[in-house]
């Protein structure tokens, strides 16, 4: 098998040169998708027959929650790549993605709480999904705190990789135990799990918003990663040229 495509990722310069174009593509896609999705979600999609217009919060709540979970999975995958193949770029990706994932989790929690007020009559309900989201936020805080606390860059990356792998193994256990706890401790009146199948005109904007959020994530991640690569390589010729060329 030809591994040159893989080895290319070991070169920061190659990544920096290529990622400029990707960044542009993702940024445009994110802008178009989010704009279209927002208009569709807020103005065009029909209102829910039970929840009325408060249901429109779903169009940011669900994409943010999706992204928060897949971002944690990404942390662990980047961690494995960083630990196994010692790829520096994976370390950069891990440390740059953690704050973005944390902010997505925050959005999911906040919109969940705001949505809960008109739907459940309380700002916060110890619903299984909200609770596991809260725990996910704490897991993100742990990774960020650890990466800040260790001063050596390589050790910090490795420690974060180990922590996120441990976290990913624990995440399904946490999720199931929280769900179990929830069904035991309170009557299942607040189930939003068994939602009736959505009609097409509600479901399509949601899909667009999810795609838009993923593109947004890619954009922001690449922005952070490019800066981090510049910082790490700041003594090289090409970074110097890059710095002098930019504003």
């Amino acid at each position: 098998m030809n591994w040159t495509w893989f080895h290319k990722w070991g070169s920061p310069k190659w990544f920096y040169e290529m990622s400029g174009a990707w960044l542009k593509g993702f940024a445009i896609a994110a802008c178009v998708l989010l704009a279209a999705g927002l208009v569709w979600a807020l103005a065009i999609a029909p209102e829910d027959y039970q929840q009325g217009n408060s249901f429109r919060i779903i169009y940011i709540h669900v994409p943010a929650a999706f992204l928060a979970q897949s971002c944690y999975l990404m942390l662990a995958i980047a961690g494995i790549i960083g630990l196994v193949w010692k790829m520096k770029l994976a370390d950069v990706a891990l440390q740059c993605a953690a704050p973005i994932g944390a902010s997505m989790t925050f959005i999911a929690l906040l919109t969940g709480a705001v949505w809960g007020k008109p739907t459940w009559g309380a700002w916060w309900v110890w619903d299984a999904r909200l609770t596991s989201m809260l725990i996910l936020l704490f897991l993100y805080f742990g990774v960020i705190a650890l990466s800040q606390a260790i001063s050596n860059r390589d050790s910090a990356a490795k420690a974060c990789a180990v922590l996120s792998i441990v976290g990913v193994i624990n995440l399904p256990i946490i999720k199931y135990s929280v769900e179990w706890w929830n069904t035991l401790h309170q009557p299942a009146t607040f189930k939003i799990t068994e939602k009736p199948a959505m009609p097409m005109e509600m479901w399509l904007p949601l899909l667009i918003m999810v795609l838009g959020f993923y593109c947004f994530f890619a954009t922001v991640l690449l922005m952070r990663m490019r800066l981090e690569v510049l910082k790490r390589e700041s003594r090289t010729r090409w970074v110097r040229n890059e710095v002098e060329a930019s504003r």
Binding site: A43, S54, I60, S103, I107, R226, V243, R247
Partner: protein
Amino acid sequence: MNFATLADFFAMGGHAPYVWSAYGISLLVLLLNVAVPLLARRRYVADERRRIRREEAAQ
């Protein structure tokens, strides 16, 4: 279109505070996510330029 008038759109069928605050704060967080790396990059470039100039002056 789901709403007849613009006023209806802003009222969100009585759920305006919830819907608009959720969207507003989320948008703010997203914008913050964009602004932080942009500002950091600008600061980095400025610092780096100053350093290069200083080193050239020293030589």
